[in-house]
């Protein structure tokens, strides 16, 4: 049971996957509630383009990819805000695929690539080094700090972006900070989860949490927990079953989603059955509400 813990690479991978999946679950709440679920998928591809550009220009991968992803996220948000007839999914499709296409074009032009980009696409837990781990922890700490500071402003901007400015919330700044957080999280999670699977870790934990609660704060806590648990046990299971770590994490969170879906459906059915036979206290409450 404790056999894999004797390997440094496994411990590093386990911590990286747990923290990165928890981080994605955390940010994913805003992603899902902004109805931009597809942005994780799109941005991870856009960041892939940025990674290639950074490599070609001999620039630091983390900085180059984050700037690239941040720019793409900002463009998507701006496009949907300024031109309201362009829906979020269309804006994501246009900007991120263009960015990805640029990466592919550069790869096909410069045949001298020796770096393996498979890891960026599908995730490779063996490739996680101390720098990657430090980047994941640093981004998580900064994200936590920013979200704590801006919690009420971000909540209002996510809930009612049209009205929030009338109450003194600078939604442009909130959008910019959200784009930066999202891009950074995707860049640091890329090595563990891979561009193709990262979207799932941004979407599945928050949606699962949403099935279990109607409370924003609780949704956030549950989403982090589901993400982190999926990351931890996903890596652990992948060691024994010998499957890709990203796939293992996503399959585990999909399993948790299914369980939550069944539970919430049963709960809903039970509630509606109780409503058919109202109790005196329920009737009194209803009467009091309309008094």
């Amino acid at each position: 049971m404790f056999e894999p813990f004797q390997y440094d690479f496994f411990i590093r991978g386990l911590i990286a996957a747990t923290v990165a999946s928890g981080l994605c679950g955390f940010i994913g709440v805003y992603v899902v509630l902004r109805k931009m679920s597809y942005i994780g998928h799109g941005l991870s591809h856009a960041v892939f383009g940025g990674a290639v550009v950074s490599f070609v220009m001999d620039f630091n991968f983390y900085i180059g990819s984050t700037v690239w992803g941040f720019g793409s996220a900002l463009l998507i948000i701006l496009m949907t805000r300024v031109r309201k007839f362009i829906a979020a999914d269309a804006a994501i499709g246009i900007i991120t695929t263009s960015s990805f296409a640029l990466g592919v074009a550069l790869i096909s032009h410069y045949h001298k690539f020796t770096r393996n980009f498979d890891a960026a696409l599908f995730g490779n837990i063996l490739g996680v080094d101390n720098t990657d781990l430090a980047a994941i922890i640093a981004v998580t700490a900064v994200t936590l700090g920013l979200v704590v500071l801006l919690y009420r402003r971000l909540l209002f901007t996510t809930f009612d972006p049209e009205v929030a400015p009338f109450f003194g919330v600078d939604t442009n700044w909130m959008d910019a900070i959200f784009a930066l957080i999202l891009a950074s999280a995707i860049v640091v999670s890329l090595r563990v989860l891979g561009a193709t699977l990262i979207a799932a870790t941004l979407v599945i934990p928050p949606i699962t949490a949403r099935l279990l609660t109607d409370h924003f704060g609780r949704m956030m806590g549950l989403s982090v927990l589901i993400g982190a648990l999926s990351g931890f046990f996903g890596i652990y299971i992948s060691y024994y079953v010998d499957i890709a770590s990203g796939a293992s994490i996503v399959l585990l969170s999909a399993g948790l989603f299914t369980a939550a879906l069944v539970y919430s459906s049963l709960r809903q059915r039970l509630t509606s059955m109780r409503r058919i036979a109202p109790t005196p206290s329920a009737a009194q409450t209803q009467h009091a509400l309309f008094d």
Binding site: R152, R153, E162, F167, L289
Partner: protein
């Protein structure tokens, strides 16, 4: 009539002044050459048909619309593109009812820009509860907003606006889709706030049930057609210019009421024709 002293000037001056304002969206003007003054302490209803620019007029006061000409002055300050701070209650149909927020969350958003912690101070929390108590929704504080009746939802969003302690309250169709009792409650609540010194500007489709009770009505249809007490502006001529339809005006127990001019719809059956003959 709810307000005893409509459109009176006091020492605080105008709350809102629009001077020859032409405004709209994406380069397309929706309102033309608007001159409007709302005095501090006024209670004003904006009426007009769908698409006449009532909501745009509210949003112009909030600085959320492109102004192509003229000046918008709110509380003595010229408003450029960007946000003016005012209590605003949007149309409920624009709300995402699946968003995981409780009534208390919504009300607290009224001071989202105050402080840098996820929680609010004990004093602010008490104030939020006082607002909810006043609106009769304190017992629903932990309910999800979707689980409320239309009137309660309206109160929750009114609570958000009131929690920001506004001197100017702008409401977009606050009585749309609610029953008569709730409509009456909302109007009396707004009247109370108005008597406490809050300037209220609201849009409404209901020219008899709502606007006829207000002290000051502004008829809008791309331009300001007329403004004044309902008894002055509810005339067949002004209503025709506002709504583009013939309307009959009736005086009843001191109230001015508007009725559509009767017209037949559909083909009269042979039986009806025989009866008429």
């Amino acid at each position: 009539m709810l307000h005893p002293y409509p459109h009176e000037t006091d020492e605080t001056g105008p709350a809102v002044q629009l001077r020859s304002v032409t405004c709209g969206y994406d380069g397309r003007p929706v309102l033309f050459d608007i001159d409007l003054t709302v005095m501090a302490g006024d209670f004003v209803g904006l009426v007009g048909p769908s698409g006449s620019g009532k909501t745009t007029l509210l949003r112009t006061i909030l600085g959320a619309v492109d102004v192509y000409g003229g000046q918008v002055i709110v509380n003595g300050r010229e408003i450029k593109r960007g946000a003016a701070h005012a209590g605003y209650v949007p149309q409920l149909e624009t709300i995402d009812w699946n968003f995981p927020v409780t009534v208390e969350h919504v009300v607290r958003m009224g001071r989202a820009s105050h402080g840098w912690t996820p929680w609010i101070s004990r004093r602010m929390r008490d104030e939020a509860y006082a607002v909810m108590e006043r609106l009769g929704i304190a017992n629903l504080a932990q309910r999800h907003v979707r689980a409320l009746s239309g009137g309660q939802q309206q109160r929750a969003f009114l609570g958000r606006a009131l929690f920001s302690s506004p001197r100017l309250l702008l409401l977009d169709e606050p009585t749309a889709g609610v029953d008569i009792k709730t409509r009456d409650d909302v109007l009396h609540l707004l009247d109370e706030l108005n008597h406490e010194g809050v300037t209220v500007v609201m849009t409404t489709h209901e020219i008899n049930a709502v606007a006829a009770h207000l002290p000051w009505v502004v008829c809008v249809n791309g331009r300001i057609i007329a403004e004044g007490p309902p008894s002055d502006v509810y005339t067949p001529d002004i209503l025709k210019r506002t709504y583009g339809a013939e309307m009959t005006v009736i005086q009843h127990e001191g109230m001015t009421l508007v009725a559509e001019t009767p017209h037949s719809i559909g083909r009269a059956s042979a039986r009806h024709k025989a009866k008429a003959g």
